[in-house]
Each structure stands twice: as C-alpha cells, then as structure tokens.
C-alpha cells in the first residue's frame, strides 16, 4: 500500500494563494457569509498561514500553506467516538462525513487546527452553484470536514491504473493545490517509493515539520532555509 | 388496578434494569467485535468493557437482591 506525503518548499512559495483557491473550488468548500467569517467560521482546507519575522521596518513575511498533515500518528483519530476519522491503508487520515456525529472532538484534539465544521448547511449562491465539483460531495450541516489530499482523485487514478493493468505512477494522482501551484513549490507522491521526487525532497536538509516535538509524524513536510 | 397488576408492574420494573444491564453487555460485546474486525485497539476496548459490564451487573444484582428480599417475606 502506498503512503502518500507532500513536501512544500517555502523558499519557492510566493504566498499567491492559488492553492487556497484551487482547493476551495476543487473540494466544494463552502464560502461563508461575512458575519460568519467574523465569528471564525471561514472554511479552508488549505489555508495560508502568515507569520512575521523580524521587527519593523525589517519585517519578513513568511507564508505557510497549511493543509491536513495526514499525520502518521494522528491525535484526532484516537478521540473520535464513532470511527468517522481513521487512518486508512494509504496512510491518509480519512474523514467520513456520513458517519460523523459532529461532536468536534477531533477538532479540539488536532494541534494544527486543520479541521473545519459545517455550522450551517451552506447552499452555494447563484454563480457559485454552477461550479460544484460533482466528484466531491457537498457536506451537510453539522459534520466535521478537512483536507482529504483530494481523495476523489486518488479513487479515480487507482481505478484508471487498474483498468490499464499497471501500477500507479508518480503524477497519476496529485492534489489540486499542487496542480495549480505556479511556483512549483509542491512535491507529492508515494513516500514508500524512494525514486519519487517527493522522497528526494524529504531528504533535503532544509526540511522540517510543524510542531515536530508532538510526535504526530506529519506526512507534509516543509522546506525552508533559515 | 388490583394488587396483581401492581406486582406485575413491579416485576416489570426489575426486568427493565436487567434490560439495561443486558443491553449494555450486548453493546460492549458488539463494540469489541467491531474493534477486532477493523483492528482498532481491541485490547483497550476489552479492558474498558470488562469494567463497564461488571459495574452494571453489580447494580442489577443489588436491585434484584432488594426486590427478591422485599417480596420473599411479604405478608
């Protein structure tokens, strides 16, 4: 079984936000009203975290595209009371919407706060309602959702590979955020395959993960020269 | 409503607690079964269920003990 992971090169990232937009469009992530946004209910599976380094006037902005880190030892799955979130055979942390009872315990347990909750049933308004991706479900109200590494793409890619009687190749399956990145800051693929570019990038000395000391073993690594 | 109905109702109320106890037991066994099937830390499930089942069985037994004790020496 594969073990999908990602490397994001922060030195390449310009903070343009294409990944954020692509993710929102690809995964039918709801666009919330202004009032809700003020209450912190904005929904991002891929979020651009902005950090500031240095003191005025020598401020350096730091952009960190943050998606679900698909941890190898995820703290969120331990607490789920109904197995709505679990680690599947591809090493992805699954989030099964029809199973979720909406207790939001996983959200409280996730140290990276990657999960978002459907506070309402969001109905896309007119122009956006034409842009629903049929490959991805529109989540009902009251369930937790998160980045899936574009699992619908994996489902299709696996099936196509099977239909063509071959193994999955690198590049058969990439998440939307990586596909659109103009700076080519993303590497993605099977971490068990040492020939992949992603495994190569993971060996880079610049590599680090967020909150490494928690021992969650995120499968999304960052590259950043200090 | 005569005395007989009352006694029947009383017996019914005791069976209720046993219904709870047995359903909790069944639930625990079911959860252990599921945990084994999906390989999701079954030993922890077993440990927790043993405690839960034990507590409920003792509770049910105490209530039954009282019920039987109060009815045995009736009249």
């Amino acid at each position: 079984m594969a073990r999908y992971g990602m490397v994001i090169d922060l030195d390449r990232c310009t903070g343009c936000g294409a990944c954020v937009t692509a993710c929102k469009a690809e995964n039918n992530v709801a666009i919330v009203s202004e009032d809700d946004a003020k209450m912190g209910r904005t929904m991002f599976w891929m979020k651009m975290l902005v950090g500031y380094e240095g003191e005025y006037p020598n401020i350096k902005m730091k952009f960190i595209p943050r998606l679900c880190f698909e941890c190898d030892k995820p703290p969120c799955i331990k607490v789920c009371p109904v197995r709505a979130t679990y680690k599947n055979e591809d090493g992805l942390v699954a989030q099964i919407y029809p199973q979720c009872i909406g207790c939001r315990y996983c959200m409280a347990a996730c140290p990276y706060t990657v999960k978002v909750f459907n506070w309402y049933r969001y109905v896309p308004e007119k122009p956006m309602s034409n842009c629903i991706n049929p490959d991805v479900s529109v989540r009902p109200k009251g369930v937790v959702e998160k980045c899936t590494f574009c699992i619908h793409r994996l489902q299709k890619a696996k099936e196509l590979a099977q239909a063509e009687h071959r193994k999955m190749r690198e590049g058969d399956y990439v998440p939307a955020c990586m596909q659109v990145c103009p700076a080519k800051a993303f590497y993605f693929g099977d971490l068990d395959n040492p020939q992949n570019r992603v495994t190569e990038a993971m060996r880079d000395v610049r590599g680090f993960t967020l909150l490494e000391d928690l021992g969650t073993d995120p499968k999304v690594h960052y590259l950043h020269a200090k | 409503m005569n005395n007989k109905t009352i006694v029947i109702l009383q017996v019914f109320s005791v069976t209720l607690i046993w219904g709870l106890v047995l359903s909790i037991t069944a639930l625990c066994i079911h959860l252990i079964h599921v945990a084994y099937r999906v390989h999701d830390v079954p030993d922890a499930t077993v440990a927790i269920s043993i405690i839960a089942i034990l507590i409920f069985w003792v509770l049910g037994s105490i209530l039954t003990y009282v019920f039987v004790g109060l009815h045995k020496q009736r009249g």
């Binding site: 679990y86 599947n88 055979e89 591809d90 992805l92 699954a94 099964i96 919407y97 029809p98 199973q99 049929p134 490959d135 991805v136 479900s137 529109v138 899936t148 699992i151 619908h152 489902q155 099936e159 099977q162 239909a163 | 409503m1």
Partner: protein
C-alpha cells in the same frame, strides 16, 4: 394515576407509530414508472445486443449511460413492430426530444460508485446488482438490490474487495 396511565400509553403509542413510520419511510421507496414500458428481453432477443450495446459506457466510465434518442433512432426512426410503446419511442425520435427516463438507481454524492470498477475491472455480471433484467419484459420499478451501504459491504467482503471507507466515500 389514570392520567399517568393514559399519558404513558399515549407516549408508547407515539413511540411505536413514529418508529414504524421511520422504518417504513426508509425502506419503501415508491415505485418508479418509466415513460415507456421498455422491454429489455425483447430487445436482447430481437437484436442480439448485449447490455453494452446500449449502455455503452459501462466498462469504461463511472456511469453506465442510458442510450439517448440518437441511439434509439438508429433503428426506431420509424416503426419496426406494432407495439404501442414503440410508437412512443418513434414519436420522441421524430420530435428529436430525449426520453425523460427516470432514475431508479442512484448513489448519494458522498459515495463514489463506478461501473468501470465493478464491470470493467472486477468483471461482475450486471445481474449481481440489477437482477434478471435481461429477461424482464417491463422496465424495473424499483431497485433490485437496494442501494444501501450494508449491501455494498456484504458484497465487498464476499469478494475481498476493499472495505476501507475511503474506497468509496469522498
């Protein structure tokens, strides 16, 4: 005391009624009537078509594909027999209007179901899910194998297919 009895009886009654209604509402889907009483059996016998003759995408696509009037029109641009139902098809073809078939089998949007996976790769027979549809003289009115997760899982377990939720849920 009487009030209590009446109250509890009413409560139990409400509970029974609501649970019966709940179970009933989940199971019994009203039957679907198609605009044309299509005869699968006759079609297969007369033309020698297989299922794939009309449902062309079944091996290569997620959806099997319902033939459009262009497909029907290849033969039925004029009457070939005398049946009343064929008459309707011809009428649709002549007016160049799609036949408003009604959906019987559907999966919710959070489920990824693909015919390619089941027919193309796993080589399942259509009858596994659709029953003896090839020998039916009228279109099916309801799902042969109800689209329920338990049914999927039973079969997946039987054939050792993946039962990972992420294999189908999305």
């Amino acid at each position: 005391m009487r009030d209590i009895i009446i109250g509890s009886v009413a409560f139990l009654l409400a509970l029974v009624i609501s649970s019966v209604w709940f179970i009933h509402a989940r199971d019994a889907r009203s039957e679907v009537l198609q605009p044309i009483q299509f005869n699968h059996k006759l079609m297969i016998e007369k033309t020698g078509f297989t299922c794939m003759g009309c449902h062309k995408l079944v091996k290569t696509n997620a959806r099997a594909g319902i033939p459009n009037i262009e497909t029907c029109g290849m033969c039925h641009s004029q009457m070939m027999g005398k049946s009343n139902e064929e008459n309707k098809v011809v009428a649709y073809v002549r007016q160049n209007k799609q036949i408003p078939w009604r959906t019987i089998y559907y999966v919710p949007d959070y489920v990824y179901f693909s015919h390619r996976r089941h027919v193309g790769i796993a080589k399942l027979k259509c009858s596994v899910c659709h029953g003896a549809i090839a020998s039916m003289t009228t279109p099916p009115r309801k799902q042969f194998l109800a689209i329920k997760m338990q049914n999927c899982i039973d079969c997946h377990e039987k054939y050792k297919a993946s039962t990972d939720c992420y294999a189908c849920h999305r």
